[in-house]
């Protein structure tokens, strides 16, 4: 895996910084950070599927929604404990991941993106009309059990989950599985021509992505204590996840985290000036400029900056 001590030192430093943050920031900022952590989880999940394999999903809330609704229904309607409902939700989401995989065996590119978008729309319509006594229909559900109380505990829960998922993903992607998944995104036929089953690899990517989406979605609604279909299946939510991964640096683990934090704070700081949906115009414009400057994202810009600094240092 080519692990060096400095890798763990950097991860340790990152974790310590995040864990001491509540001592220095307001409760309001902490709530923004909680959302950033969940967005980072969803962006990592999206990146595992789309950033690595090149199968761009426009319907990631389909997976997040399966996780969220499964645990919401089990806890609210059937009084199942969260310790049981969350693992069931994750398994259900992984089954959902296999459903997303099916079109990926036949189609790719914009066709695949459109099918996933249709999947999200389908589940959005279904939760509203099929058994609204279970799903809560258009209004969703409130009064769900919560895992934590207060912003500080919520923050620690979200940051722990995000770090655990990020570190696991980072480690897995450093193995030959990560190399093979990235190879699919570059040339699927050549992967097959190298003796690797592309179907098996795609299944691994889709299941891993669904695992993260299901876990993130389930824990997220047990942080909120409610579920609202309109917010969950909002097209802006999809684009926020995708843009976070893209401008952070698709195909990396740290990129989606950086992108999620950048976008969350950007949207939050724009709120007093642009309270409506116009905020999304500003952030899309900014994302576009960033993307044009460096298609590999902020993470690549960061490395370029370090390389430049290093060259300057050597010259002096």
């Amino acid at each position: 895996m080519g692990l060096r001590w400095h890798h763990f030192a950097l991860w340790g430093l990152f974790a310590v910084t995040l864990f001491v943050l509540p001592e220095f920031v307001s409760r309001g900022t902490l709530r923004t950070l909680i959302f950033a952590n969940f967005l980072a989880i969803f962006a990592i999940s999206w990146d595992t599927l789309s950033g690595r394999t090149g199968y761009i999903s426009f319907g990631h809330p389909f997976l997040i929604g399966i996780g969220a609704y499964t645990t919401a229904i089990l806890t609210k309607r059937f009084d199942v404990a969260m310790e049981i409902s969350i693992p069931i939700a994750v398994i259900a989401t992984m089954v959902g991941g296999l459903i997303v995989l099916l079109p990926a065996l036949r189609i790719k590119g914009s066709y695949f993106a459109l099918v996933t978008l249709a999947m999200m729309e389908l589940i959005y319509q279904l939760v509203q009309v099929i058994r609204p006594d279970l799903t809560g229909g258009t209004r969703g559900m409130s009064g769900l059990p919560t895992l934590t109380r207060g912003a500080v505990n919520g923050y620690y829960m979200s940051v722990s989950l995000m770090l655990a998922i990020a570190l696991t993903t980072w480690l897995v992607m450093r193995t030959r599985l990560g190399t093979a998944l990235s190879a699919i995104g570059m040339n699927e036929e050549a992967v097959s021509g190298s003796g690797l089953s592309v179907t098996k690899l795609k299944m691994a990517a889709f299941l891993f992505s669904a695992f993260i989406a299901g876990l993130g979605g389930a824990v997220y609604i047990h942080y909120l204590g409610s579920i609202a279909p309109r917010a969950l299946f909002d097209i802006n939510f999809v684009f926020t996840i995708i843009v976070a991964a893209l401008i952070g640096g698709a195909g990396t683990t740290v990129g989606p985290i950086a992108g999620a934090f950048f976008l969350t704070f950007l949207l939050e700081y724009l709120r007093p000036y642009l309270p409506g949906a116009e905020r999304y115009m500003v952030y899309s414009g900014l994302a576009l400029i960033l993307y044009m400057a460096q298609p590999k994202g902020m993470w690549e810009l960061f490395f370029q900056g370090i390389a430049k600094f290093d060259r300057l240092g050597r010259r002096e």
Partner: protein, 243 residues
């Protein structure tokens, strides 16, 4: 150990077009056969069918007497046959070492996670095709066409083939690069590798093959020693454009 390839009555139709028309031939273990024919004759289509990238309409493909038609491409590679492509297909954002690593990766998710890469083997494969150690960290975009062909050979060799299908292996190469690739193929032949080679560069192909097979419009028109095939009237008419 070398592999034996048998093609029996192979037919491939694309709608109304018959791309492979009842083609049969055998490549014995350790033998090297040149597959020649004009553009559009159906040479690459035969390669694609052997590798399972295109499913034949009818006919049999056997490796070491075992029918492989129902196997997927990775399973055929596991059976011992690998190919290179007319246009090299490197993984563009990966280094040379990582490109070779993909070929060395076992087709098991569990082993991909638990077994680390083998840099020594990557270097060994790179050097075996004439790539230098300092090139391992380079991106494919930084390589010449000759080095891209070498990289493709290295990635193909990483799958441990017993038979290699080389498609236009000399295309776009300089005279020096052709000499290097020829030497490489010769040394692999000496080690017992079975080859089926497609090339338009007949001069470069001649010393590398024991026999030749000529096809035109999907049909086998001549087979035998290289000189006999080249002297064949039908071959000259179709391939060389002479009566």
């Amino acid at each position: 150990m070398s592999a034996k390839l048998e093609i029996r009555n192979l037919v491939k139709r694309f709608g109304g077009l018959v791309a492979t028309n009842d083609v049969s031939f055998t490549v014995e273990p350790g033998q090297s056969i040149g597959l020649i024919g004009p553009n559009g004759a159906g040479k690459t289509t035969i390669f694609s069918q052997i590798m399972g990238e295109h499913q034949q309409s009818s006919g049999d493909i056997l490796i070491d007497e075992n029918e492989i038609s129902r196997l997927s491409t990775p399973q055929r590679i596991l059976a011992g046959v690998s190919r290179t492509y007319q246009v090299p297909r490197p993984f563009s954002d990966m280094s040379v070492a990582e490109n070779i690593r993909v070929g060395l990766t076992p087709d098991s998710i569990w082993q991909m996670i638990t077994r680390g890469p083998n840099p020594d083997r990557e270097l060994e494969l790179a050097e075996s095709v004439g790539l230098a150690e300092e090139q391992l960290a380079r991106l494919p975009s930084e390589l010449s066409m000759g080095d891209l062909r070498k990289l493709e050979m290295a990635r193909t060799l990483a799958t441990a083939p017993r038979m290699m299908l080389l498609d236009e292996v000399f295309a776009g190469l300089t005279v020096n690069e052709i000499a290097v690739i020829s030497k490489l193929v010769q040394s692999m032949r000496d080690d017992g590798m079975t080859f089926l080679i497609v090339s338009h560069d007949l001069k470069a192909l001649e010393p590398l093959v024991d026999e030749a097979i000529a096809i035109n419009q999907g049909q086998l028109i001549a087979e035998g020693s290289y000189s006999d095939v080249m002297a064949d009237k039908a071959v000259r008419a179709s391939y060389l454009g002479a009566e």
